[in-house]
């Protein structure tokens, strides 16, 4: 990179927060996506919106690409700079600016860690529901950019359902403010919704205002064992068909159960085909009623064991065990290739079955877990990146799984984003006209194409 450019960059964020040494660049070349890596030309960690704006203006002038990065935990290669440009890490933008208990909003800088916000608002009896598995490290900016979901998505929705306002630094350094505290707002295009899930390609979020809700008074966490996989999957659809919306309805298959138990030791059974982790919350009477109805449905579908968490601690342990499922799968093999195929809820059973058959057909070890209540599954292939043949088979298998998901009326990614990893599948899903509109939006925001180039479209 040009020395005078780097000097100017360092003048904005401070030399201490501008990294160009070999070692730093080497470790900013990856995120949580398997098989993808590329070194940036520099890394910068600004501390204020003003610094972000000046950095963007500088890069815009110099024609240098910028890739935003929160904690680098996304699973689609979104925070990797493939053009040797600047990686802009938002971690130092980490202040909680306001928790407005009258309007039920929280305004935070985008480097704030998701679970930090949870703790702050819950201490006030409030609730910010989106809780991705990575919530203890993912940033709010990353959540907005990926429109992250979580374990409570079934009842409470995903990040976009909570974003009320954004401060976004545009590629040329201008600041765009969208949305605000007014609950109703139809002035012009809905820019918030356009920006959510833009994966760092339209602007850099520096502040986000989210909607809060009252914290549910009661909750009940249940763990149900199933000797038959299909019965577990059917149970998911039946619970929803019975007009019960649990906060959480998570599915883990046998392979996943073994890995999770190996790490978390929470007493998961090793001899069943699947477990469901179910959580209902709300008014105590409703919670009791829902739990009883769920139990009846599970029993009808031949569950072998139905456990209700006795304490908050126990419930937390079970939920935590589920949250680390992906990482725990990595205990088995060096490489885990995980997908994010999502189908309508009624198709969970055929989808799970299809995944198993495909795994067998290609001779692969695939563990499946996921937000079953949302129809969002994470079939995860346990492999070794050095085994090129197996890797090729894995990719072929996933191609079939995607096709099946689309055929069932589903999608290729429910929450992990397109990034570069899913880019080639996007046309299949959105079609030529979809791509055309997306390209138009991109060039309206970023005519020079310097913001996170090569991603999504």
């Amino acid at each position: 990179m040009d020395q005078s450019f780097l000097k100017e960059l360092a003048a904005i964020a401070g030399a201490e927060h501008t990294l160009t040494d070999r070692e730093s660049l080497a470790v900013y070349g990856y995120d949580s996506t398997p098989e993808l890596e590329s070194r940036p030309g520099a890394v910068v960690l600004p501390a204020t919106t003003g610094e972000v704006a000046r950095i963007m203006a500088l890069c815009h002038g110099a024609g240098v690409a910028v890739t935003p990065r929160g904690s680098g935990t996304n699973l689609s290669g979104g925070s990797i700079s493939f053009s040797g440009g600047v990686v802009l890490q938002t971690s130092r933008l980490n202040r909680i600016l306001e928790i407005d208990e009258e309007n039920l909003t929280a305004t935070v800088e985008t480097g704030v860690i998701t679970s930090t916000l949870h703790k702050e608002v819950e201490a006030r009896g409030l609730f910010y529901p989106p809780d991705p598995g990575s919530m203890n490290i993912s940033t709010m900016g990353g959540n907005v950019a990926e429109n992250s979901g979580g374990l409570r998505g079934l009842k409470y929705g995903v990040t976009s359902d909570y974003v009320m306002g954004l401060s976004t630094v545009l590629p040329d350094g201008d600041l765009l403010k969208s949305g605000g505290k007014a609950v109703k707002n139809v002035a012009g295009y809905n820019l918030n919704d356009l920006l959510v899930s833009s994966e760092g390609t339209l602007g850099i979020f520096t502040e986000v205002m989210v909607r809060l809700i009252p914290k549910p008074v009661a909750k009940k966490t249940m763990l149900v064992h199933f000797p038959e996989l299909e019965q577990a999957a059917l149970t998911v659809s039946r619970i929803i068909a019975a007009r019960i919306i649990p906060a959480t309805l998570e599915f883990l298959d046998r392979v996943t159960i073994r890995c999770v138990e190996d790490y978390a030791r929470v007493g998961l059974p090793l001899d069943v085909e699947a477990v469901l982790l179910i959580e209902v919350d709300g008014h105590p009477a409703v919670v009791e009623e829902d739990a009883a109805a769920i139990r009846a449905i599970c029993e009808k579908h031949r569950c072998s064991f139905f456990q209700t968490a006795g304490s908050n601690d126990e419930a937390l342990k079970l939920a935590t065990a589920r949250r680390v499922a992906l990482s725990a799968l990595a205990r088995f093999k060096p490489t885990t290739i995980l997908e994010d195929a999502t189908v309508p809820r009624s198709c969970i059973a055929p989808m799970v079955k299809f995944i198993q058959e495909t795994a067998k057909k290609y001779g692969l070890l695939i563990g499946t877990f996921g937000h079953a209540g949302d129809g969002n599954l994470h079939p995860t292939c346990l492999t070794d990146e050095r085994n090129r043949d197996e890797i090729a088979r894995a990719h072929a298998a996933f191609e079939e799984i995607f096709d099946a998901a689309i055929a069932m009326g589903g999608t290729i990614t429910g929450e992990h984003g397109v990034g570069v990893a899913k880019k080639k599948y996007l046309p299949k899903l959105v079609g030529e006209s979809g791509l055309k509109v997306m390209r138009g939006i991109k060039s309206a925001f970023d005519p020079k194409g310097i913001l996170n180039p090569g991603k999504v479209i």
Partner: protein, 418 residues
Amino acid sequence: MDYEKLINCMRCGMCLPHCPTYRETFLETASPRGRVALVRKFQEGELSVSDRFLEYLSLCLDCQACASACPCGVNAGELVAEFRCEKKDGEGLSFMEDLVLRRLVPHPDRLESSMVPMRLYQRSGLQRVVRKLGILKMFPAPLERMEGLLPQLPGKPLRRTLQEVTPAKGEERGTVGFFLGCVMSLIFSEASFATVQLLSALGYRVVTPKEQKCCGAPNMLAADRQGLEAAARFNTELFAGYELASIVTDCGGCGAELKKYGHHLHGDPAALEFSGKVRDISQLLDANAERLAPLLKPMDIAVTYHDPCHIAHCQGIRQEPRRLMQLIPGLDYREMNEADACCGSAGTYNIERPEMSDKVLGRKVANIRKTGARYLVTGNPGCLLQLKKALAEGNEPVRVIHLTELLLWSMNGTAPAP
């Protein structure tokens, strides 16, 4: 270095929020995920070992909070320590290391004599004069920090005064060996004496073999494999000479090291047996909770607990000390935030990397003070040294004590002196 272990890291980042140095810097190079990547990239030939490369790795406290957090079973802290050890292996020991590790540490007598001048220094009042005049400011910074950490030394090291066999009080329930850590004996002899009294009160006959040597942890730290293995072999043989149900230590650091003797001596059966018998004092006391509880008298104090890395992360012991404290009637136990976060002591880290150590310590102190407790309980001499100094300052001092001191106070019904 085992390449398989390196590639098992899937880069999910679950370790990042648990790493004290990442929390302070937000830098990938200062995170467990980044350190594993650095070592991996060296192995793959992408990076070479430069001063800067080693500088990044040496920022690791080796607190192993990352290991507790890692769902894939990668121990980044240990991998980094092993790597630094391998890199140093060829170099041999420096003059100072040779002096300390070969001529001093393995010889308890010499180690104890070396403390005599220190004791004189304190008793004669010279320490007061030196501190007042700020004479140490004229010397290199590490010396000043070391001096500052030193608390009031006991009259005599415990190893000198404790008999080899302490009989059980009342009906005898078995014999346990006591591994008396060097720093415990030299500086925190009161706590270790409390340990022995508690064991005896619970009906254990306590054997403290006089010839025992340093556990070898300092050798490990200095990448001195030879010294480490010698220590492991010596202690294994020594304790094998007694009929012991278990081997108890009240030093978290020693405990973690002793439990690895089997590994250090490459699966040697005697060493494995030794390691299998090692218990942190909190484990043994907790196992006897039913018999301990009736012996404890009420205490009207607010207490919080700091998990030493060597106890929580290296040995996986978290609940035992908490349960024990809460056996004391009337005691107001308050859990602090991030109780299992490192205090920044980390062996000699607080002397080698003072700037980062102070940041990590600052966060710890703030979390302790937030509880409002006037007593901090912990179980490792490094933490005791580091936190005693930090918490004595300010107008609301917090008293730092070992778990066994608290329990003995309660057993004896002695109200702690302010």
